[in-house]
């Protein structure tokens, strides 16, 4: 299982760091890409990750109204929700992508989300794109 998390440098990335400091375990399927703001994440990045075979993608930013760039997290949430609505047209389940708002001190929230998201994606099974390319191999 491969999950990509785009984490903003202010809140989300730091909440994951804090989870580390506190030794809160979460599945190793989750790998983080640091971005300046969740608003940096272009829809293309998410689609690219899924097309390459990621089983799930989530975008994590600061809590509402606490974005260091005023509205980046609103933009990010909007993009992920629009994208998740049209995913079925590509033959993928909507719930393979998600948006998380988390403050830098809320390691618990990050970890709980990470565990649940991993479980949710696991229950969907592997990304059909990857399944398909494997069958071909």
């Amino acid at each position: 299982m491969k999950i990509i998390a785009f984490a903003c440098q202010w809140c989300a990335y730091r909440s994951a760091d804090l989870a580390g400091t506190l030794k809160y375990e979460y599945p190793s399927s989750i790998t983080i890409i640091k971005v300046p703001c969740s608003g940096r994440v272009e829809t293309e990045f998410i689609l690219k990750a899924l097309a390459e075979g990621a089983d799930g993608v989530f975008v994590a930013g600061c809590p509402k109204n606490e974005c260091h760039y005023r509205k980046g997290n609103f933009v990010a949430e909007l993009k992920t929700s629009i994208l998740s609505n049209i995913l079925p047209e590509f033959g993928l389940e909507s719930s393979r992508i998600a948006f998380l708002e988390v403050s830098s001190s809320d390691a618990k929230k990050f970890v709980e989300f990470a565990r649940n998201f991993d479980e949710r994606v696991r229950s969907l099974g592997r990304n059909p794109i990857r399944r398909y390319s494997h069958e071909k191999d």
Binding site: K2, I4, W10, R14, A16, D17, L18, A19, G20, T21, K23, Y24, E25, Y26, S28, T31, I32, I33, K34, V35, P36, C37, G39, R40, E42, T43, E44, F45, K48, A49, E52, G53, A54, N65, E66, H68, Y69, R70, K71, G72, V75, K79, S103, S104, S105, D106
Partner: protein, 660 residues
Amino acid sequence: MKIGLYICHCGRNIADVVDIKNLIGYFKDKVNVVRDHLFMCSEPAWEMIRSDVTNKLVDRVVIAACSPYNHEKFFRSALETAGLSKYLLEIANIREQCSWVHGKNKREATEKAKRLIEAAISKVKTLKPLDDLRFEVERSVLVIGGGIAGMTASLDLAKMGFKVYLVEKEPSVGGKLIKFDKIFPLNDCASCVVSSLMAEVANNPMIELITYAEVEEVDGSFGNFNVKVRKKQTYVDWEKCIGCGACTTVCPPKAWKPNEFDEGLSKRAAMYIVSPQAVPKKAVHDPELCVNCGKKKLGTRRFLRGGKEYLTPCEKACPTKAIDRSKSWNPEGELLNFNVGAIIVATGYKVMEKETFKEYAPHSPNVITALQFERILSPTGPTGGKVLRLSDGKKPKAISFISCVGSRDVRYHTYCSKVCCLYMLKQARLVKEREPEIDVYIHVIDVRAPGKDLEEYYIEARRMGIGVIRGKVGGIEELPNGRLRILGFDADLGMPVEVEVDLVVLATAIELPEDSKELARKIGVAVDPSGFLKEDHPKLRPVESTLSGIFLAGCCQGPKDVSETVAQAKAAAASVASLLSKEEIKVEPFIAKVNEEACSGCGICENVCPFNAIKVNEVAVVDERSCKGCGICASCPAKAIDIQGYSAESIIAEIDALVG
């Protein structure tokens, strides 16, 4: 391109979980140099990286170690001193985001570490040799809040030769301290401590004092912030007002309301001067309270009554004609605009209202907050400093203080408000000094008096006969005769106690004012879970906010006493000075870049940028000073915008490495 990979053991923090030998074997043929070290953040390891770069063995560096937030700057300096762009570096976070969270499964952790390192290698290959942005520095500072923190910081900066704009939302500076009579631990006169500072900030030629004003907008960044401040309308010509107070006594009682300065214990009129010690000492008109005497609303043309021009009582009272109700005053006030290099936020605190605590009989006028009691003890307060209860003007026979009201309580705040134990002891001692026959009880969970002179202060209070009862108070009952029954617990006796008193003082919790949260949101400073403004690091960067160029001082960062507030204010001033005394500042170059050939000039980026940092004439142009590099504009349909350091190419390279 020659890539060097440096893997840290972090003592056993990483090496116990991640198989470093396995990593070295795996990456040996994928990069030009692989080395490991017990502590990559040590001097010898730094030297090892530097010499590899100097000897041209590597020209891009990947470090697999702890979070970049720990030592990224230190590692960058190794590249820089070796003559390489310090931004040709990428860190794979294999501690916080790997060994520490996957400790139970070493094989999986090692596999994940491989992927994280592969992503960092892919990214480092895409990086460009960037230089820092260099900006001229605006040698001036905005200080928000004119309490003791803001005043101290302003004066220190002014003395070092910086221009200071001190913005205070009330008509006068002074903060909470000007309301107090005495301050612990020396019980020296609060007014003597603060009044001289208030006079100094008003008279220092380097300080522009802007009271009755609020910060509306902050743009730009460290070194050059553009600030918009709204100076609220006072409806009094402050050039003419001499602060005599004649106008403040003539409004009819219908135009009175509870006086904020006395914490609601007295009344003030629609025309008012905040306090007898106000600086600047100028009158303010409150149009919401005004009853428009003689139907002469603000902006009504002059008219005659009985052959003479009609003047409202306030107009008539003013000896200098500072009040003119026929003038068309702009209710929006005035918008001021200026540039500063740095900002200090010093907006202080508020205390919780008693109404929140239903169990403590808040409807009784004889239950008051400690801040209200400060006003009773003050010679400028409603009783002139006499210990009286306001409900009947009688001297109380017994007073109880209740601690931790809203603090150390999971229902409200888990933190300790830190100063309450000591100010309760102070207030109790002042009562005893003035009226030794009054019985005084303090109900506490425990007495917290750490630090110089403070334990001694507590012992002196006990010696004076103040009863300290250890145990939480469950409730307060109001008796038919107006007295109050405290339903407490005495932990030393291990049994419930009941005390009947005439006055109850609640030490309610200290909080960040609601509008400071709003301010924080506007300027981009973070609020931490306790609800106060967040410092960048509690030990290493305690006066820096999370945003570069913005500093914190005083109780807006957390509860503290005056000594700590002043220390923090001086530290903030010194930190600002050390940064602004340079000719230019260097800023990380992670901002938007426009590819002019691809730009179609559609203007979408201009609309989405939260900082007005990108403007489209023929093509989009980024204002390097205002751009904060969030990357929202990079969703450009023509793909004409990229973010340095976080380019689409870099991110896609990472995705490929992590998923592929």
